[in-house]
């Protein structure tokens, strides 16, 4: 297909404001008379609140409103508000008479300054009755464990276990020449977006609420606030323009939105609530820590005969996305590497620790790390090169994907082959490891696949309105949210391409629930795939109307017309053309045509693929691992904006390197308090830690459901990097790790154990 706008790295619609400092984020806004709000947080992980005395706080000059659980509606709500969703759990109150994790909000204050609000927090006296707590999954699953919620199914399970079965694993294992099983553990990385959670709330004189907020899902925020407060949807307006990242977590509500809304109502003043960085850690959402037991059977030629797994997720104090993550993660193990006989079980468990939620990769980080590492182990035992083994087993066209759909094309195989060629895989793998001195180098690779859209967990819908203005320019009205990835630019490119107009002639209106069509929110790698497809369909509708109008002028059938670069021409008649502007413009005293297209798109699912190739360097004396080079190969069907797509890949790799080597939000298992709620001790890779990344994007398996064949890219890059690093570390030092993050201390321990186990020189092995 010959594209004039799609596939070009056009100037993004959102970055001029960002590089000049003029882009307004929710926390940049202020209103006359605005108050500042703060939350009093528990310093105990599990307790009943016997009494809260706020009289001293209320008496502090400058304090305008104070709320406790006695002052707010007691309505059970979804912490994360997917509509009709099986992905989330209804187990939260705005403020409860219990706390279930260290740092949970117990009261809120609005005052004329942040300092006064903070001083008021110190004046609030809370009397707790300490309850027995469960800080680990093991503790929570004990028969006599304290129950964190009264909800079913009980036993601290968030929901009934997820069980996925295909074929017959007993037969599969019986046919195997080699059976490998292992246990794996994943830590607690957090998204650590740069913009702390913030909102600004105002009630007008007519009882209408406006909320400016940093969220990925403004319509969901509107829906939950309206539901909890009993308001009609048209009395709640949620606005979000620029936002400083979310990476999945900003799909949830975090207590502060409700409290800010209610403080504004109570004080009759606009109220801003901005979380501190520490609070963003304390009350934020992490990836679910996980324990995975995985067993696979292989034939000598590498064919996988059976796969069995038990995945146990730590949900923290509330359910949030535990059902969704558990479902996606468990089902993901049906695929990536083909296997006809699987039995998979996933569970999610409440503990008295911070809440785990949605985070880029949504369960697949936790499942593909073990799966890919075990493939590496199997390759060694079978005497097959690991990339070759993965290639032989790679999921491919017509295989059944985790969603139940047939996979399209051969994307994963193409990624593996391209990466092997790019890094000269067989050469770099064969290179003798440097054996003198403390430093060792190694190469590894890992694979992943990830779905665009949350189907079948959620039945989604993308909507768009495209209007053509009387000068031929175009306005796309979309409910999609821009997390910073350039989604609105991609959507505008799709509209321009479909309509045959210049990219610069398409404007985007977004971020206002009163104005834009409904949108489910920016997550599940679906904005370009689903919102983009809806925009393309709406643009096609406008194009149809425009061509009908132009057909009269050109005295030709609409079907014989074509639009390119803003000009409408008759096919096969060179030079016979009018501009789009002329076609729509007012004429003979009549106003311009009203050209509006609307579209709704109900996607099913498409899968994107990647193979990551990584070189690491290990200091065997300090145990420090450094990623030297990354070559990610991604298959995404159709690239809309190459620079933005590559940028997302590189950012995902940064987070994935962090997951694997340095990032872990650590909870003290004696009392549940967090040990590192700061950027000093929560260690994300920074400029000096990041290796060069040589990104390769291929377009070999376009999906007919996406705009021009495009699929998602957002989540994929965080998944394959982890096992690729772990496999490279094994190649470098011969020590196999089954967990993340891999700390220097563990590397030294691993080397020590390996050396102890190694046969002494002189003794025949």
């Amino acid at each position: 297909m010959n594209m004039s706008v799609v596939g070009k790295s056009v100037k993004r619609v959102d970055t001029l404001g960002k590089v000049t400092g003029l882009a307004r984020y929710a926390g940049d806004l202020s209103l006359p008379g605005m108050l500042h709000a703060k939350i009093k947080r528990s310093n105990i992980a599990h307790a009943s609140i016997k009494q809260i005395d706020v009289s001293k706080a209320r008496a502090l000059p400058g304090v305008k409103a104070v709320l406790t659980h006695q002052d707010v509606p007691r309505v059970l709500h979804y912490g994360s508000p997917h509509p009709r969703s099986a992905s989330v759990t209804k187990d939260q109150y705005i403020l409860d008479n219990k706390v279930r994790y260290w740092g949970e909000g117990v009261a809120a204050v609005a005052a004329i300054s942040e300092e006064i609000a903070e001083e008021a927090l110190d004046l609030i006296e809370v009397e707790y009755e300490k309850l027995p707590a469960a800080f680990t999954v093991e503790q929570a699953l004990c028969p006599d464990a304290p129950l964190i919620h009264d909800t079913s199914p009980g036993g601290n399970l968030v929901m009934d276990p997820v069980i996925v079965t295909r074929g017959d694993i007993e037969r599969g294992f019986a046919e195997a020449d080699l059976i490998i099983e292992g246990e794996f553990k994943g830590g607690r990385p957090t998204p650590a977006y740069m913009e702390p959670n913030v909102c600004l709330c105002q009630w007008d004189g007519n009882g209408k609420l406006t909320v400016w907020i940093s969220t990925q899902a403004p319509f969901m925020v509107r829906g939950v606030i309206a539901e909890v407060l009993g308001l009609p949807l048209n009395n709640v307006r949620v606005l979000v323009d620029h936002m400083g990242g979310g990476f999945g977590a900003k799909q949830d509500l975090f207590q502060n939105e409700f409290l800010c809304v209610l403080l504004a109502r109570e004080s009759k003043r606009p109220v801003r609530m901005e979380l501190s960085r520490k609070e963003t850690f304390l009350s934020g959402r992490s990836r679910h820590p996980v324990h995975v037991w995985l067993k696979q059977g292989f034939k000598k030629d590498g064919t996988i005969t059976a796969r069995q797994a038990l995945l146990t997720f730590n949900s923290g104090a509330y359910g949030s996305h535990a059902p969704g993550v558990t479902g996606v993660s468990t089902a993901s193990l049906t695929s990536l590497y083909r296997c006809e006989n699987v039995h998979l079980e996933g569970r999610a468990v409440y503990t008295n620790t911070p809440i785990a939620g949605a985070f880029r990769g949504y369960g697949c980080v936790q499942s593909y790390y073990p799966l890919d590492i075990q493939m590496d182990e199997a390759a060694e035992r079978l005497g097959i090169d690991p990339a070759e083994l993965k290639l032989r087993n790679a999921v491919r066209g017509d295989d059944i994907a985790p969603s139940g759909h047939a996979v399209t094309g051969h994307g994963l195989e193409d990624c593996i082959r391209r990466g092997m060629a790019e890094v000269k895989w067989s050469e770099v793998r064969a290179q003798a490891h440097e054996t003198s001195g403390a430093i060792r180098y190694g190469w590894g690779m890992g694979c992943e696949m990830h779905g665009s859209s949350a189907y079948p967990g959620i039945k989604e819908q993308g909507n768009a309105i495209v209007k053509m203005n009387e000068d031929g320019t175009v306005t796309l009205v979309t409910g999609t949210t821009g997390l910073g990835t350039g989604a609105h630019t991609a959507l505008a490119q799709i509209v321009a391409e479909e309509l045959g107009v210049k990219f610069e002639d398409v404007g985007v209106v977004h971020g206002d629930t009163d104005v834009t069509p409904w949108d489910i929110g920016a997550f599940a790698s679906h904005t370009t795939f689903m919102g983009g497809r809806a925009a393309q369909m709406a643009a096609a509708e406008v194009k149809k109307q425009l061509l009908e109008r132009a057909a009269e002028r050109l005295e030709a059938a609409p079907g014989d017309l074509d639009i390119a670069d803003g000009m409408i021409s008759v096919k096969g008649v060179p030079g016979y053309q009018i501009s789009v502007r002329e076609a729509i413009a007012p004429r003979l005293g009549l106003p311009a045509a009203h050209l509006v297209g609307t579209a709704s798109y109900h996607p099913t699912k498409s899968y994107s693929f990647a193979a990551h190739f990584v070189q690491v360097k290990v200091d065997t004396k300090t145990g420090q691992i450094e990623v030297v080079k990354v070559v990610p190969v991604h298959e995404i069907g159709r690239t809309i904006h190459p620079v933005a797509a590559a940028g997302q890949i590189e950012g995902g790799i940064q987070q994935g390197i962090g997951h694997t080597l340095t990032e872990d939000y650590v909870i003290d298992t004696t009392d549940g308090h967090s040990l590192n709620p700061s950027f000093v001790d929560y260690k994300m890779p920074l400029s000096m830690d990041m290796p060069p990344i040589h990104t390769i994007i291929i377009e070999t398996a376009p999906n007919p459901g996406g705009p021009f064949g495009a699929k998602g890219i957002a989540e994929d890059p965080i998944i394959a990097i982890g096992p690729a690093i772990a496999n490279a570390v094994y190649h470098a030092i011969g020590v196999r790790f089954h967990h993340y993050p891999i700390t220097p201390e563990q590397v030294l321990d691993g080397l020590r154990k390996k050396n102890e186990a190694a046969p002494r020189p002189g003794i025949a092995a």
Binding site: E115, K278, K621, T622, L675, F679, L686, S687, D689, P744
Partner: protein, 287 residues
């Protein structure tokens, strides 16, 4: 930030008078990169903040081949890091200064602030002690000099009395065939609090070690000299065996704790590895 009153004394006398008047409820602000963080995090709750940046003369940095290096308490980490004199003769200190936070932080943070904060993991303290730093302490009508190695009494605690201010740091001139090295261990390459910091300052005569100081950070309540390790090395040719033995001894002298940044066992092990590396690097610098 919590509410406080603010003062900008114009002289040292005025500053110490304020400290005396607000005995215990005032904090001195120099760079502010530690103090303001501690106020924001409610670790410190001063009612009065005394900014000493308006006091003249304390931002000077002088070097003399005979007298050595002398700098005032307003000299920043970035000035130390980029000073050609420091980089040439006190390279361990320059390296340590370059590892304090970011450039933005180092443009504000002062070395004396790093000293007075007395964090066991502070980067600049081991090389300062290794190079023999002496601080000048000013109080009402009095001035005293304290060897930096005797300055610290515990985490965040020093011999400084509430109405005293450190005004300057001096480092003796280096003798020929000397070198100083600082190696920091952290999980990342920057923006780290040291898991372990090792400073080595030595003078060689041929292969023989005429003078050596080994100072360890983040492995005891204060920075500590590994005196037994020093004694082992001093007066001997530094061959591989001796270096390993000295490193082992330094490890035995360290008394680290376990925390989020590393276990005690790992920190001890790193003292051994990094002490050996620091001695070797210092040797190479001299040769």
């Amino acid at each position: 930030m919590r509410r406080f009153d603010y003062f900008e004394p114009q002289t040292l006398d005025e500053a110490v008078a304020l400290l005396s008047r607000y005995n215990g409820t005032a904090n001195v602000l120099a760079g502010g990169t530690d103090l303001l963080v501690e106020i924001k995090e409610q670790i410190r709750k001063p009612d009065h903040v005394i900014n000493i940046k308006k006091i003249p003369g304390m931002n000077r940095l002088t070097f003399d081949p005979v007298a050595g290096l002398n700098f005032g308490s307003l000299v920043t980490a970035r000035e130390i890091e980029t000073s050609p004199d420091v980089r040439r003769d006190y390279s361990g200190l320059a390296q340590a200064a370059s590892e304090v936070g970011s450039i933005q932080v180092r443009n504000r943070a002062t070395i004396v602030g790093n000293i007075c904060r007395a964090s066991p993991s502070a980067d600049t303290l081991p090389p300062l002690i290794a190079d023999g730093a002496i601080v000048t302490v000013f109080s009402e009508g009095d001035e005293r000099r304290v060897a930096l190695e005797d300055f610290f009494v515990g985490p965040g605690r020093t011999v400084l009395r509430p109405n005293e201010i450190v005004t300057a740091v001096e480092l003796p001139a280096v003798t020929p065939h000397s070198a100083s090295i600082y190696i920091k261990h952290g999980r990342r390459k920057a923006m780290e609090l040291a898991t372990v910091g090792v400073a080595v300052s030595l003078t060689l005569e041929g292969a023989v070690c005429r003078r050596i100081r080994i100072v360890l950070g983040a492995v005891a309540p204060t920075p500590i000299r590994a005196k037994k390790a020093e004694a082992l090395a001093q007066g001997h040719a530094l061959d591989e065996d001796l270096i390993e033995a000295a490193a082992q001894t330094a490890m035995d002298e360290s008394r680290p704790i376990s925390n989020i940044r590393g276990s005690a066992a790992y920190r001890r092990e790193m003292v051994r590895v990094l002490t050996a590396r620091a001695i070797r690097q210092a040797q190479e610098c001299v040769q």
